[in-house]
Amino acid sequence: METAIRTENLSKTYGTTRALVSLNLEVPRGEVLGYLGPNGAGKTTTIRLLLGLVRATVGRAEIFGIDAQANPVEAHRRVAYVPGEANLWPQLTGWETLYLLGRIQGRVDTAYRDLLIERFDFDPTKKVRSYSKGNRQKLILIAGLMSRADLLLLDEPTSGLDPLMERAFRECVQEARERGQTVFLSSHILSEVEALCDRVAILRAGHLIEVGTLAEMRHLSALHVEAELDGTVPDLSNVPGLSAVEVEGNRLRCEVTGPIEPLLATLASTGVRHLVSREPSLEELFLAHYGADGRGEAGDDAA
C-alpha cells in the first residue's frame, strides 16, 4: 500500500531547544492517525516540517513519496492543512477567503464546499475580522476540507468549536476515511482521537514514545478492576502484576498488568459478590505516559 507520510530521523532544533528528535514514522494511505502529546511536545513542529514551512535540522520527510522539504510545492498539491489558529486576512470576507484558498489550492469540490458550509452552519458573507474565533475556525476547516486532498494535516482543528460543530467535524473525518483519504490528526481532545483514529502516536519532549492501535496499547497497559467480596479482602501480596491497590472493608480497587487469572483465583477463595473490569481509556493511557499532571518528563515549549 502507498505510504502517505514517511519520516526518517526527522529532527528540528531551535537554538539549544530540541523540538523534535529523530522522528521515524510511517502512515499508510487511508489511515487516520491520532498524534498526541502535551503542549510543547513537538506536534506542531512535526506538521510544519511535513509542510516544509520550517527546515529540518536533520532527516527526511516524505508525502506520498515526494520529499516534502526539497519539493514542498509538489507535495502541497496532495495536502490540505487546518491549523488550530486561523490567522486569516481580516479584510476579506468568508466567501472571498474560500474562493482565494480554493483557487490557490487548484482544486475544490464545490458541491462538498456548499455542504460543509451548511453542515457547519457558517455565514460566509461577513468580513473575517467580524467573525468569532469559532467561526474563523469553521472557515479554515471548510477551506481545508473542501479540496478533498489525499492527505489532511489537522493541527488541533476543533479548537473553539462547540460540541455540535465538533460532531459535524467527526462526520467529515469519517467521510474522509471512507473516501480513502489519509488523516493526520493532532489533538488534545482524547475522546475525539479515541473515536476517530485507527492508530495513535504519542510524543513526549520531542521524542516519539509510542505508536500503535488503541487495542495494542491497551493490551500492554493495566486493566482496571473493582470488586466487592463476601468477606474481607485476602492477602494479595503474592498476586503478580498488581498496582494501585485500594482496600476498603470488603471492597477492592486495583490495576492488573498481564494475566488476570492469579487475581481471580485468590479472590474466589473469599467469594466474589460483584466484579467489574474495564480496559483503560485513552485518557488513562495518555496520563500513564505523562504522569498525573499530564506533562512529559522534560517538556519544552518548542511547538
Binding site: 514551512l53 491549523p83 481580516p90 461577513k126
Partner: protein
C-alpha cells in the same frame, strides 16, 4: 509565600499606562529628535543660505504675501529673520508629521489593541473598560511628553547658537505649538477609535479629519477675507499661535479644550460600549469581490492596492505642489548665493524654477524611501501575522510570492516617480515656468534608484533575518535623513554623505542625472533583492 500571592491592584491598573507609555514613548523620543533636528537644521542653515541683509530682505519681499505659498505652508511672516524663516521652513512639515504620528499612535494603542484581542484580556483583569482607556490616555500623554521634551531640547539648543539667537522662551513656545498637533490628533485618534469598528476605519476617519483640517486652513490662508476660518481648524489654531513670529498663547485655549474634551468623551464612551464594537460599523458584509483573488499575485495586488494608491497620490500631490510654487520660488531664490551653493553642492547649477525643483525633488526621494520601507514592513507583517502560512501550505512557490511582493514595491516607486514628475510639470506649466515635461519626468524618475536600493536591502534582510527587517529598513531611512540634516549644517562631509543613498541623487532638472550612481543603486538593489529571495526560499517561516 502569602505576600507574593497578594494581588497588586495598583500595579494591575497601571499596567495599561505603562505598556502604552513604553511603546509610544520610544517612538515619541525618536520623532522628537527628528522634529528637533529639522527645526535645528532650518535655524542653523539660515545664515549660510541667506547671509546678507539684502538677500534676506529680497527673500521676505518675494514670499510674504505670496498666496500660493501661504496656502501650502501657512502665512509667512518676518522671513528676513532667522525666527521667521525657521517657522516657515519647519512649521507645517513638523505639524503634519506630528499629527499623523499622534493619530496612528492613539489608534494603535486603543483600537489596535482591541482588534488584536488584547484589550479583552486587560478588561477581564483588574480594571474596567473606562479605566483602561483612561490609563491608555495617560500612556499616550507620557509618549507626547517625550516627543515634546526632545523637540524642545533641540530647538532650545539650536536657538542658543550665536548664529541663530532665538530665546529660550520663544524656542519652547515654538516646540510646544508644533507638538500640540500630536496632542490634538492623539485625542482625535482616541475618539475615532471609539466610533469606528476597526483600527483601519479609525485611521481612515482620523486621516479624513486631518485632511479636512489642512484644507480649511488652506482656504483661510489663501484669502484674507476667509481668515476667520482658521478658527475652525485644529491646524489653524496652531497657525494662530504664531510661534516665533509674535506669540499669541490665547490660541492654546481651543487646543487644550479639544484635547480634554475628546479624551474625556473617549473614556466615557469606552466605559459604555461593548469591547470590540464600534458606533459605526463600515461594511462588514460587503458583496464578495473575487476578481483579483484567483492567484497569489492577484491577492498581493488586492492587499497592497490601498497603500500603493495612497502613496502614489501623496507623491503626485507633492510633485504638483513643487510645480505650482516653482516659478515664484525660483525667482525669489535667484541671486541668493547660499541656495545656489547648496544646489552646487548637490551637483547642480543655475537658478530659477529648474534650480528650485532640483533642490526640492530630493524631498520626493525621501518620501519614496519611506514608502518603500512601508512595503518591507507590510511584507514582514504578512509573515509575522501567520497569513503566509495559508499560502505556503498550498502549491505556492515562496520565491514567486516574494518576487511579486517586491515587484509591487518596485512598480510603486517607478509609477509614483513618473507621475510626480508629470504632476510637477502640470503645476509648473500652469504658472508659466520654463521647465519642460521631459526634464521633469527625468526628475521624477531620478529619485527612483535610491528607493530601489532601499527596497533591495529590505528584501535581503527580510530573507535572512526577518525579525530585523523592519528596524533595518526604517533605520536606513532615518539615517539618510540625519545625514542630510548634518550635511546641510556642516556643509560638506563626503564620507558621511556617501553613506546615505538619498544623497547620491543629482538635483535634476538643475543638473543632468548621475547615471553612473543611478545604475549602481539599481544594480545593488536588485542583487540584494535576488539574494533575499534566494534566502527566503531556504529559511523557516518565522512568526511574530
Amino acid at each position: 509565600m502569602r505576600h507574593s500571592e497578594r494581588y497588586d491592584e495598583r500595579g494591575a491598573a497601571r499596567a495599561v499606562a505603562v505598556t502604552t507609555a513604553r511603546r509610544v514613548g520610544r517612538q515619541g523620543l525618536l520623532w522628537g529628535l527628528l522634529f528637533g533636528g529639522t527645526i535645528a537644521a532650518s535655524a542653523t542653515s539660515y545664515s549660510g543660505l541667506v547671509p546678507t541683509a539684502a538677500a534676506r530682505e529680497r527673500l521676505a519681499l518675494s514670499f510674504e504675501g505670496n498666496t500660493a505659498w501661504a496656502a501650502l505652508f501657512g502665512p509667512l511672516r518676518r522671513l528676513d529673520t532667522v525666527a521667521g524663516y525657521t517657522a516657515y521652513k519647519s512649521g507645517m512639515f513638523v505639524i503634519i508629521l506630528a499629527a499623523i504620528w499622534g493619530l496612528f499612535a492613539a489608534t494603535r494603542s486603543l483600537r489596535g489593541e482591541e482588534d488584536a484581542g488584547r484589550w479583552e484580556i486587560l478588561c477581564a483583569g483588574h480594571t474596567t473598560r473606562g479605566r483602561a482607556a483612561a490609563q491608555a490616555a495617560v500612556g499616550l500623554g507620557a509618549g507626547f511628553a517625550l516627543l515634546w521634551a526632545a523637540t524642545a531640547l533641540l530647538s532650545v539648543s539650536a536657538g542658543a547658537s550665536s548664529k541663530v539667537g532665538i530665546g529660550i522662551g520663544a524656542a519652547l513656545f515654538f516646540a510646544t505649538a508644533l507638538c500640540s498637533a500630536a496632542a490634538m490628533f492623539m485625542a482625535i485618534g482616541m475618539f475615532v477609535g471609539q466610533l469606528a469598528a476597526s483600527r483601519r476605519d479609525a485611521n481612515l476617519i482620523g486621516a479624513g479629519v486631518l485632511a479636512g483640517s489642512y484644507l480649511v486652513r488652506m482656504a483661510a490662508d489663501s484669502d484674507p477675507g476667509l481668515a476667520w476660518l482658521r478658527w475652525a481648524s485644529p491646524i489653524g489654531w496652531i497657525e494662530e499661535l504664531r510661534p516665533l513670529t509674535g506669540s499669541k498663547p490665547l490660541a492654546f485655549i481651543p487646543v487644550v479644550a479639544l484635547v480634554v474634551m475628546l479624551v474625556a468623551l473617549s473614556v466615557w464612551i469606552a466605559a459604555r460600549r461593548d469591547v470590540g464594537a464600534g458606533a459605526f460599523a463600515i461594511g462588514e458584509t460587503p458583496k464578495p469581490r473575487t476578481r483579483l483573488l484567483g492567484s497569489q499575485a492577484g491577492l498581493t495586488l488586492r492587499l497592497t492596492r490601498p497603500t500603493v494608491v495612497a502613496w502614489t497620490a501623496a507623491l503626485v500631490a507633492t510633485g504638483l505642489v513643487f510645480g505650482l510654487v516653482a516659478q515664484a520660488a525660483g525667482s525669489a531664490l535667484r541671486g541668493i548665493r547660499g541656495i545656489e551653493r547648496a544646489i552646487q553642492r548637490l551637483g547642480g547649477s543655475g537658478s530659477g524654477a529648474a534650480s528650485y525643483l532640483g533642490f526640492v525633488f530630493v524631498i520626493a526621494a525621501g518620501l519614496m524611501a519611506i514608502a518603500v520601507a512601508g512595503q518591507i514592513a507590510s511584507i514582514r507583517n504578512e509573515e509575522a501575522s501567520g497569513h503566509l502560512d495559508h499560502l505556503f501550505v498550498r502549491p505556492v512557490e515562496r520565491w514567486r510570492w516574494l518576487t511579486v511582493r517586491l515587484g509591487v514595491g518596485l512598480g510603486l516607486v517607478a509609477l509614483a516617480g513618473l507621475l510626480a514628475g508629470v504632476a510637477a510639470w502640470v503645476g509648473a506649466a500652469s504658472q508659466h515656468a520654463d521647465v519642460g515635461l521631459g526634464e521633469l519626468v527625468k526628475a521624477g524618475l531620478n529619485v527612483v534608484p535610491p528607493a530601489v536600493f532601499v527596497l533591495g536591502i529590505g528584501g535581503l534582510v527580510f530573507g535572512i533575518l526577518p525579525r530585523a527587517s523592519i528596524g533595518v529598513v526604517y533605520g536606513i531611512v532615518v539615517w539618510s535623513f540625519l545625514v542630510e540634516v548634518v550635511a546641510a549644517v556642516f556643509d560638506s562631509n563626503h564620507w558621511l554623505r556617501d553613506t546615505s543613498p538619498l544623497l547620491h541623487v543629482a538635483p535634476v532638472p538643475a543638473a543632468e542625472p548621475n547615471v553612473q550612481a543611478a545604475v549602481w543603486l539599481i544594480v545593488l538593489g536588485l542583487a540584494a533583492a535576488a539574494a533575499g529571495i534566494w534566502s527566503f526560499e531556504r529559511r523557516d517561516l518565522v512568526g511574530a
